[in-house]
């Protein structure tokens, strides 16, 4: 019956014109008051439902996701209330209401596809639960702590104190790294020493420095080893794990300064040098001047 009405455009247009006349005749302030009261009731109901969701779901969902979900539910309740009230106020049939809703959706989608896309991406992020407020994430070249997760965007505070707003559609369509998802993170540093220096001694020095740091985890144990022998140096790699919650309070620079200067100073004290890249060029026919120390 309703579908029949929808596709019967002649009757709906005539119905609209009839309704317009009816509205001007039958429109009362009581109807307006009813709509306002319904709107207020829907708003209060939304608050109550949001509070109920907070009570029942706070231990199951992250704070940001819960806020996003409750905002969605509140918006739906208010939308439903308006959908109930407006037809009565303007004396419209359900067919007309459906037509208006579809028309509104089409207009909104065409005029603000980015907004709709962001909202859809927000729902997708809510479902996936890839990150939440407080997590330390990287999106493209932006790294920082998530301040809030909203329906249309996510706000991030970078370690340098800049607030960055990222649209949800961008987050949804790009690679995202969450450094807070697991309790521990692994860091890798690499240094080079001269060929004539003892790699065992250098490894022992690095190991002592790394293991003495309180936030370098005892288990999994740090690993220090010769990783490569390049044309000008012996490369020594050190891998160790730190608590994510601590690492997220540091930026990469401060993490590096926690270890590399100490390693350099300890190397210098032990007579181990970090070499610079060098290349020996010999002209054809010329004799080498001296031995090249085994290189």
């Amino acid at each position: 019956m309703i579908l029949g009405d929808i596709f019967n455009f002649n009757s709906t247009i005539s119905e609209l014109s009839e309704n317009a006349e009816a509205v001007t005749e039958d429109f009362t302030w009581g109807d307006v008051l009813f709509v306002i009261l319904l709107f207020v009731a829907a708003y209060i109901l939304g608050l109550v439902v949001a509070h109920f969701m907070k009570l029942r779901l706070s231990h199951k969902m992250e704070k940001g996701q819960l806020e996003l979900a409750s905002a969605l539910v509140r918006a739906l309740i208010i939308f439903a209330a308006l959908a109930l009230a407006l037809p009565g106020l303007f004396h419209l049939s359900m067919a007309i209401v459906l037509l208006l809703v579809i028309g509104c959706i089409v207009v909104i989608a065409m005029s603000s596809s980015a907004v709709v896309g962001n909202a859809a991406a927000g729902v997708g992020l809510l479902y996936e639960r890839t990150f939440s407020a407080g997590d330390f994430i990287q999106v493209s070249d932006v790294t920082g702590t998530v301040v809030s997760v909203q329906l249309l965007s996510v706000t991030i505070r970078t370690p340098s104190g800049v607030l960055v707003r990222i649209p949800n559609s961008m987050l949804y369509n790009t690679m995202l790294s969450n450094f807070h998802a697991h309790v521990a993170r692994r860091y890798t540093y690499e240094v080079g020493i001269r060929y004539e220096d003892s790699s065992d001694r250098a490894i022992a020095i690095i190991r002592t420095i790394v293991e003495s740091h309180p936030f370098v985890l005892k288990n999994p144990a740090p690993e220090t080893f010769v990783s490569d022998i390049d044309p000008s140096s012996i490369r020594i790699k050190c891998r160790f794990w730190v608590p994510s919650i601590w690492a997220n309070t540091q930026d990469d620079l401060s993490l590096r300064t926690a270890f590399l200067p100490r390693i350099k100073d300890a190397f210098e004290a032990a007579g181990i040098e970090i070499p610079f890249p060098e290349t020996t060029v010999r002209l054809i026919g010329s004799e080498p001047e001296s031995a090249d120390k085994g290189r």
């Binding site: 309790v183 936030f215 985890l217 005892k218 288990n219 999994p220 794990w241 601590w246």
Partner: protein, 236 residues
């Protein structure tokens, strides 16, 4: 040093100097621990007491863990066997302002170097305050400002022999006592070769008759008391 102080108080040892001076016009609290120095002005009523007590050792240098992991030499336990192992654990010291029923934290410090570890896997595990201890059949002598003694009763409820070399405890439920030494009683029930339950007993050990202040209670954190910590990532 531990205890309730209502007047002036001063303590000094090698790396630690602590002063509570209430005689001057501006009462003050001052503490030097290694290179770490703190000075606070105290606005106190005459009846306010300052209590120095051992606290759960998971606060310094940063509060990132709530569990204490003690690693000790391997013990092989037959089915149904039980034994009491005395283990050392690190001590952190809390300074509290007590007025009536209200307790507030003034300072927390430690003479120990902290070390952390991961119990379990990076995905599902947890960060623990790490400490290594020998096993002592009798309570060992310790510096109470640095180490305490835990009497750990290990019971093997599993049907087979089990090797055990670590115990992880939830510090929210820790019950510390002090006196001539710092101590606590704990229980470790081994349920299988990889699972155990650890808990604390609210019972004063010998030489430590005074109950320490629970830091989590004094911070008024809503902690739900649990029956024990479920060690499901292994006991070795």
């Amino acid at each position: 040093m531990f205890g309730c102080h209502t007047g002036n108080f001063s303590y000094a040892e090698n790396d630690l100097t602590l002063t509570i001076d209430r005689s001057g016009p501006v009462p003050r609290y001052e503490r030097q621990c290694g290179s770490d120095h703190i000075r606070k002005i105290l606005a106190l009523s005459p009846e306010a007491a300052i209590t120095i007590s051992p606290v759960e050792p998971v606060n310094l240098p940063m509060e990132i863990a709530h569990h204490l992991e003690i690693v000790f030499p391997r013990i092989i336990m037959q089915p149904g066997e039980s034994m009491t192992a005395n283990l050392k654990f690190p001590v952190e010291i809390g300074v509290f302002l007590q007025a009536g029923t209200d307790t507030s934290v003034i300072d927390i410090f430690s003479l120990n170097q902290s070390k952390y570890s991961l119990y379990g896997k990076p995905v599902t595990g947890l960060i623990t305050r790490y400490y290594e201890s020998d096993i002592y059949h009798e309570p060992p002598g310790t510096d109470p400002h640095r180490e305490g003694v835990m009497a750990l009763c290990i019971r093997n409820r599993y049907a087979g022999a089990v090797e055990v070399s670590r115990a992880v405890f939830d510090c929210h439920a820790m019950k510390l006592f002090y006196g001539s030494c710092v101590g606590m009683n704990a229980v470790m029930e081994i349920m299988s070769s990889a699972i155990a339950i650890t808990s604390f007993e609210d019972k004063a050990p010998a030489g430590s008759p005074i109950r320490g202040i629970d830091l989590y209670s004094s911070r008024k954190l809503p902690i739900i008391p649990e029956q024990g910590f479920f060690m499901e990532s292994g006991v070795v």
